[in-house]
Assembly symmetry: C2
Homo-oligomer: 388 residues x 2
C-alpha cells in the first residue's frame, strides 16, 4: 500500500495552523447579531480570557483583519509622523514593521540583525542611550521567518529604563512562548488568530498597558480611521467594537481559549517547548543544521543538506505522508528561499503530529539521497518526549 | 402553548444576516494553508464569481476586515491628502466616509441630504461644475441607516461627465440591488461579506475599474500600508493576497456565491425587490409610515406609531416570535434612535421569513395598543408575493 494511505492530513506550517474540531463547529453555529446580550456575553468572556493569556489587567482589543492589521494599527496609533522609533528586525516580519513606519513617515533607527541571530539587549541599550528621544521600540518576540526567538524579557527590561514604549510582535509568541505583559512591562503586545490561538486567520489582538493607554490619550494621530486604536479602546470599555466584528471567528476564539485554559496556559507553553525540543533533537540526530542560534519554540527552521530540492521535497512530504510544512522566505537582509524548511509546534499540534512530521521528513531526505538510518529522528524525539 | 415555541430563530437585521447552512459547514472544513494549489483554486474561482456579481472585467479584491476597512482602503488609496473630494451623505454611513477623509486630510465638499431623502443627480452636477478640481466622489448606494437607495446610475452618469473618480459604498447594495460596475462606469465598488453576500462579517471586497487602476499607478499614497490597494492589486495579478487571508471565510464566500449564481444574480435581485415590495405593502396596510421617500430594496425602515417603546417592542418581537429586527441609528444629520425599526430583505432570507417577520411585528404592535386587524400585514404581503 502507498505510504500516503497510512496517514491523515496534518498542517504543520507556522500559520495558518490546525484548528480544533470543536472550534470549527462553533464557527458553524448560526449567525447572531453583535448587538445582542448573547454576543456581548461571548465577547466579554473572550476579553477576560485574552487578559489571562496575555497576563495583563489592561484591555486586550479584538480587531478584524490579519496580524499585520493589528500591528500596523498599534504602530500608527502610538507614534506620530516625524517622531523616532527604534525598530529591531531579525527577519522578514521585523523588516515589515520597518516598512510600515516608512509608510507613515516615522523616523527610524534600525537595528538589523543577521538572519538566524537575535538582538543583543546590550546593543539595544546603547542605541537607546544614543537616541534619548526615542518614542517607541518595536521588536518581534518569535520571528517566524528565521525561527528565532529573542530574549523578550531582556529587551523589555532595557526599554523600561527609558521613556520609550515597547511594542511587541507576539504573533507566533503569545500562547506558544512564555510572555507576561504586565510583569515584563510590555506596553503593547500584539498577536494574530491563526498561530498559537488555534483559530483560522481573520482576527488580531492588541493588549495595551497603562503607558500605551496614556500615549493614546496624548497623541492625536491623523491619517488613520479604522486602525485608530483610540476608537477600539473607547468601544472596549463598553464591551463593544467600533465596527461589525467577525462574529463566527469571535465565537470560535472563545472556545479555543477555553480549551487552552482548560489545559493550562503554562502547560501549553511547556507542550510547545517539549515538541520543539524533541524536533531539534531529531534534526540534530539526522545530521541537519538549525537555521537559528536562538531557536524559537513555536517554529523550527532547518537547512537542507546538499542536493535536496525544496519544492520536490516538501511536495513528497505532503503527498506521501500528509504532512504540510513550510519553506523559506526572502527579505531585505536574508534569503532562505529553497535553502530551508520549517515545522510548527504551536497551537493544536501534539506529540503524534510531531513524530509523523519527523518520520516523513526523515523518509523523504533518505529518498533524496541523504543517508540517515531509518528511525533516527523518531528515536531522538521519543527520548525527549518521554523524559520528565 | 407560548407563541415563541411556534417559531424558529430568524435574523432579519440589515447585517449581519443569516448564513446558509452549506456555507457554515464549508467554513467548518479543516484549515488549509493559503499558499497551496487547493486554496489558489478556491481563491481564483471566488475572484471570477465576484467579477460576475460586480458585472466587471476588472479585479475584485478580497480584503480581511469589515466593510469599513475595505471602504477606507479605497478612499485612502484613491485620493491624496490635500486633494478635493465630493462626499455625499444620506445617513450614518455616508457621514462615516466624510469622517475618514477628515482623518486623512482630504478636502471635502459635502453634500448632506436630509435623512430619509436621497441625493439629486442635478445637485451633484452643479457641485461638480463648481468644483472642477474634484478628485473623487463618494456615494452610498443603499444607505442602511435610513433604508434609502440612491439613483446610482444617475449619479454615475453625472460623475462620468467629469474627470473625478466615483467610489461607491455598495455594502448593502451589491448582491441585493441591480448594479453593473463596468456598464454604469463605477470606478470603485466596495462591499462587505455580512450583508447580501450571505457570509459572516470579516471580508471586504473592492472592484476596481480602469480609471481607478490608473489612479493607483499615478498616486503615491503615504501613511497607509495594509490598506494600500496597490499591494492588493499587485498580489491579485498573481491570484494571491499580500497578507494571510481568512481562509475559512474565503472558502465560505465561494460557496455562497455559487449558491447565488445557481439561482441567478438577476433572480436574486428580483427576490430581494419582491420581499421589499411585499414588506412595504404590508407596513402601509398596517397604517405605518416608511422612513424613506426613496426606499432601498435591501432594508425597510418604518416609523413607530405613537406610544410604542422601541426596545420593549423589539425584545417582544424577538422573544415571542424569534424574529431579530434592528432599531434606528444616530448620526450628525439625523437621529432615528427609538423612533424606527428596520427589517432586512438581503441575502439568505425568503418569503416565509418575511411573512414571519410581518406577523410578529403586527402582533406586537397590536399588543402595544396599535389597532390593526389580525392578518392585515400578511394579507397585503401575500398579494404582492403571489402576483406575477
Amino acid at each position: 500500500m502507498p505510504a500516503s494511505s497510512l496517514f491523515k492530513s496534518r498542517l504543520l506550517t507556522p500559520g495558518p495552523t490546525a484548528v480544533p474540531e470543536a472550534v470549527l463547529l462553533e464557527m458553524a453555529q448560526p449567525i447572531i447579531h453583535h448587538r445582542t446580550k448573547q454576543f456581548q456575553a461571548i465577547f466579554a468572556e473572550l476579553s477576560e480570557r485574552l487578559q489571562r493569556l496575555f497576563f495583563t489587567t489592561g484591555p486586550v482589543l479584538t480587531l478584524a483583519g490579519s496580524g499585520t492589521t493589528a500591528f500596523e494599527a498599534t504602530q500608527a496609533s502610538l507614534a506620530k509622523p516625524g517622531s523616532k522609533a527604534v525598530t529591531i528586525a531579525t527577519g522578514k516580519f521585523g523588516e515589515r514593521w520597518q516598512d510600515v513606519y516608512d509608510a507613515y513617515g516615522v523616523l527610524q533607527v534600525r537595528i538589523n540583525v543577521e538572519w538566524g541571530k537575535t538582538v543583543d539587549p546590550a546593543e539595544l541599550e546603547q542605541v537607546l542611550k544614543d537616541n534619548p528621544d526615542t518614542s517607541v521600540v518595536t521588536v518581534v518576540h518569535s520571528e517566524t521567518s528565521t525561527a528565532t526567538a529573542c530574549d523578550l524579557k531582556g529587551v523589555a527590561d532595557t526599554v523600561r529604563k527609558t521613556d520609550a514604549l515597547l511594542i511587541v510582535d507576539g504573533i507566533t509568541g503569545v500562547g506558544a512562548l512564555p510572555v507576561k505583559q504586565d510583569e515584563w512591562g510590555i506596553d503593547a503586545l500584539v498577536t494574530g488568530s491563526q498561530k498559537a490561538m488555534m483559530l483560522p486567520p481573520g482576527l488580531g489582538f492588541v493588549g495595551l498597558g497603562e503607558r500605551a493607554l496614556k500615549r493614546l490619550e496624548e497623541l492625536e494621530p491623523t491619517g488613520i480611521y479604522n486602525l485608530d486604536l483610540r476608537k477600539w479602546v473607547a468601544s472596549h470599555k463598553k464591551n463593544d467594537v467600533p465596527f461589525t466584528p467577525p462574529v463566527s471567528l469571535v465565537r470560535g476564539q472563545r472556545v479555543a481559549l477555553e480549551m487552552i485554559e482548560d489545559q493550562g496556559i503554562e502547560t501549553t507553553w511547556q507542550r510547545t517547548a517539549k515538541l520543539a525540543m524533541a524536533s531539534r533533537a531529531a534534526f540534530e540526530a539526522m545530521g541537519l543544521k538549525l537555521i537559528s542560534s536562538s531557536p524559537s519554540d513555536s517554529v523550527t527552521g532547518v537547512y537542507y543538506p546538499d542536493g535536496v530540492d525544496d519544492s520536490k521535497f516538501r511536495a513528497a512530504v505532503r503527498d506521501n505522508h500528509g504532512v504540510h510544512i513550510a519553506g523559506g522566505q526572502v527579505g531585505r537582509h536574508g534569503d532562505y528561499k529553497g535553502k530551508i524548511f520549517r515545522t510548527s509546534h504551536m497551537g493544536y499540534v501534539d506529540a503524534a503530529d510531531t513524530l509523523a512530521a519527523l518520520m516523513a521528513i526523515e523518509t523523504e531526505l533518505r529518498a533524496a539521497g541523504h543517508g540517515i538510518e531509518p528511525g533516527t529522528g523518531v528515536t531522538a524525539a521519543s527520548r525527549v518526549l518521554t523524559a520528565d
